[in-house]
Symmetry: D2
Subunit: 344 residues, 4 copies
């Protein structure tokens, strides 16, 4: 009954097999191995982006901060949501890698709207050289609150950014979960909507630790290589990164994992709803936030269910429900969901 | 009729005279000149702080960012108000000098309350190592909205900081204006209340460009010297900084200037009030924010009055008043105030 | 015949098996998994350092720059050798992570001497606050030129550092190769000699990508956790790092691998010497630099041997030998060495 | 008998008068004052560069580090000489403002040669993405050892830079002293030779504290404004900077001061030479390095002469001469030189 995070489960056998396959003989390192050329080719094909620059790193935070450092100047501010991972969960990594850029929360919600984004952009650069300047927009897809931007919503947000000549970054730590939820193509969810750079997650969806950074404009490529190296994120035995990513993209493993995770989350959500739980947001991917009576929560915890209480939930009054975050990963056994729901 | 800022007026003759007096013969530089020893002695006496470390820089932003970089770690967040100069008007200078720290706005108001500060502090460090850690509290005195913390209010805020073992910085760009408004001693307004480091402004109150940074704990001294030098803020012909500060502290020039500025602001406020203007805050120092009918504002601008419209005021509907910021400096001729009030 | 680097070979089966073993069920991440507690315990025991703080990262550069950022202030300079990895091969990563510290090369040689270190230290801080201040000493063990400091040499160098109250870092990317070469204990090669922090390499000696950072003074622990996270080097699925390190330390795998690599290098060196090659340094670990006639070099390359020509070797006159770097890893088949030597 | 530095003397009356003239009434700040427009126009005319971007800061280090931060990427290395101010005397300021760039000393001498520069450039970027990349070339004119590059020498060095597409910065802390020594035009000494950005010094040649940063390509302008502000180097009462610079450029004061300083240095050099002193370099501007018998040095110090002993001079054997640095500023009374020479 483990719903704490999609980074706490195991990886599929295909990923381990790929490591074993890659583990033969001598190979060039640092991305010059044969597997990486194949990764690049696959991602370019998948994204219908034959010129895209593609790089691998091992953590989602690395993907985000390195991508943002390519798009933001130190005197700018990055527009994101309040719950954004880059604002809440990267310990000032974006500030560090950009050389001191700010982050401006556009909204308290999981998703920003074009109106809110426009208002936030208008609210900056009101003091000439004295204040921070407008910088990139960063969109999380799936958002940190489990919601998913439609392709149309992405297009509208990117349009606001484009009106101000601001680049757009997508934190796609759960890219695959969003994609299968929308049923659109990677291109539609990114550059066709106006996204310039993507953190394409593998870790939360079945890899040991690998994320791709994709720039649709290859002009970012060379500087990125220096940024990655000086950030200490260039792997010598890079084949073990590219082998993971290659297996992830083979036989639709990435899509299968995401579909499995989303389906399990839907199952969980149905059960919770049937048991009377309210949802802050309708489940769209593999993460939901449900309001539970405090007594129910205590019972679940006592029975060994593992999940996070969202902000401020623990110490409230008895008659106030708690908000719990449930995340399903690809590997979650359905019987665990059944067992959990049986507790309700 | 110039009320735009207290950095747009001239300096008193005493300051120029001091430069001329300092301009004789050869002298050690970089703060080793005789005048600086005298500055340090005077400030220690004024603040009843015989061990204080005292440094001069030429801009208020330099004082703030260097002081904060001594108090904040790159992975922390600095607690301030939304209108704070360090947040709005230093172009990410605090982020740059601290190596990437964040700023957390405690309140939208000019002054923070102990409750709001405590809530803001409690709101950080909720995610372990993932989020920014709690860092220093920075208080502006006079605040950017023209209000003044009482010694008691400062003590309460510093108490909250101390409860969390967080250091306190005071942005005293208008230190003198606050001091004469409160009628307390420099010590009462700083270390006796719990303040650890002060940006002690001279520029806005009659100097060409000089600010002192004061640390009550001299343990900060040595690193500050390196920070100042690598920040390119160490003057070779430092005597022209110390001469200014010495003249500023001589014969109570600093207090006289502040009293004059505050008195003129009170005169202006009385006239505005008599003419029906509302104040966002009761005038306490040398800066007020008054709501004016839009037609009145147009008449004043047309007649040559110079002041800033505060955020969002310019383009609103006709029946909505504008909020105008008026700042008085020491040199403002009373007849200009009279002339201005006569326009109302 | 692959002698290019000890990061281009495969990993032993035990490492892959450990990944598979770790790949079961749900686990806490970010270093809170059970395997990491075991790693910490093992390293403390190995180093006879019950209080040591132990962290894992995935690249050697990350270990170095994060360790150095804990020891160096931005206004200091780090003493190392000219060929040091931190100076030559980290793309200004140390400057980035320390916030702008310099690196001062103590010597052009692979090993620094106490005299040279003392002279280099004396050469800094000659200009008061204007120049960089003295900072940590960083020693590579095995050095980048394949040599090994004896425990006595390390003690003497650390003594010079201690005389100036400077901390000492060891870049132990090839820690195991040095250790088995010296036949001493990990404690003798580190804290007993006066070393404060160690980058304890796993990647070059048989892991996919894992390095430990060890601080003998646990006072560095907390800040390190923030540094690692904001540097984007904290793994969510951390168990796959700790599992590697655990397998590496189990049944003396790390020592066996290092002994194998060193032995193969000795074999290679013997053959080269027999064939008339000169060595810049006597082989001590798993890396040698041999002078080869240019014609020999061409023959070897043509036959498919893979190794690096050291600086400036390629374009010289025909009668000038080239200097070639040969690195042996644990996995190198002895028949490849024989085949290579047969070419000579 | 004060020969310690050209930043320890007084400023000419014209500079103080200009401050007094500027000290009337209210004025826009931050460079928007009328005086600054005039400064920009004058410098553009002087340099025959109608599009040049011109900015003022208050310290020479600020001019250097801000100019370099516009030209260098964090992963690059800046080519300079070993005695360069940016390497020796800015406490890692260039590293700080560039976000972590390195500095590569091209030569131990005061002046670099095209051959040495080419060799230094060739020596970098030998390790692909692993090492620092080639960055700007910084030339000091007058050099820190008192020598002056001819226009032809500058052209040859800039040609080497251009061959590698590297920008060129000139540290002109003593720009005027070099100019009058060469008898060429500002344009010939800068952009006509291939220089991209200049730190145009005022402080060492008679100002209280003001330096211009000049970019011949105005594409650098906008970012520079943000860099200056976030570096805390934008003055609110900017008129007191522009007034200084304006007076400096009026009636050839800057050239007169430099001619006076150079002439006095020539007088001093003649006297020293007559007394048997050797010069490390032939005097070309206002700074010389003379070898003195140790006994002579003791006598001079005892008589109150003030100058710096250059590196390592103080503690040597009795029969080894010391090397003393003598700097003459515009204000040095000739009778002090006579008095000094009389001591010899």
């Amino acid at each position: 009954m483990h719903f704490a995070s999609d980074n706490s489960g195991p990886v599929p056998q295909q990923i381990l097999d790929a490591l074993a396959r890659a583990n033969t003989g001598y190979a060039m390192g640092y991305g010059a191995e044969a597997e990486m050329a194949e990764v690049t080719a696959r991602i370019r094909t998948l994204f219908e982006a034959p010129d895209a620059a593609v790089y691998l790193v091992a953590t989602g935070t690395a993907a985000n901060v390195l991508a943002l450092s390519a798009l933001a100047q130190p005197w700018q501010t990055i527009f994101c949501t309040r719950p954004a991972h880059i604002l809440q969960d990267e310990c000032n990594g974006p500030e560090f890698f950009t050389g001191g850029a700010k982050l401006t929360p556009v909204t308290e919600a999981g998703k920003m709207t074009p109106e809110a984004l426009r208002a936030a952009i208008d609210g900056e650069e009101t003091r000439g050289v004295h204040g921070p300047q407008r910088g990139p927009v960063s969109l999380s897809q799936v958002t940190e609150l489990g919601t998913v931007y439609s392709a149309g919503e992405l297009g509208a947000l990117c349009g606001v950014a484009r009106d101000h000549r601001l680049p757009v970054h997508m934190d796609g730590a759960r890219f695959a979960n969003a994609l299968v939820s929308l049923g659109c193509t990677p291109a539609e969810m990114t550059w066709k909507a106006g996204v310039d750079a993507v953190s394409f997650g593998g870790t939360k969806n079945g890899c040991l630790g690998v994320e791709a950074v994709i720039f649709f404009d290859p002009a970012h490529a060379q500087a990125f290589e220096y940024r990655r190296k000086r950030g200490a994120h260039l792997f010598s035995k890079h084949r073990y990164l590219s082998a993971q990513m290659l297996a992830y993209l083979t036989d639709d493993l990435w899509l299968e994992n995401a579909r499995a995770a989303n389906a399990k989350c839907a199952l969980l959500a149905d059960g919770l709803r049937a048991a009377g739980a309210d949802f802050a947001h309708q489940p769209q991917a593999n993460m939901i936030f449900a309001a539970l009576p405090r007594a129910t929560h205590r019972k679940l915890f006592a029975a060994g269910a593992v999940y996070h209480l969202w902000e401020g939930g623990m110490a409230g009054p008895e008659d106030e429900p708690v908000t719990a975050r449930f995340v399903c990963d690809w590997s979650l056994p359905e019987q665990e969901i059944s067992a959990f729901l049986a507790l309700l």
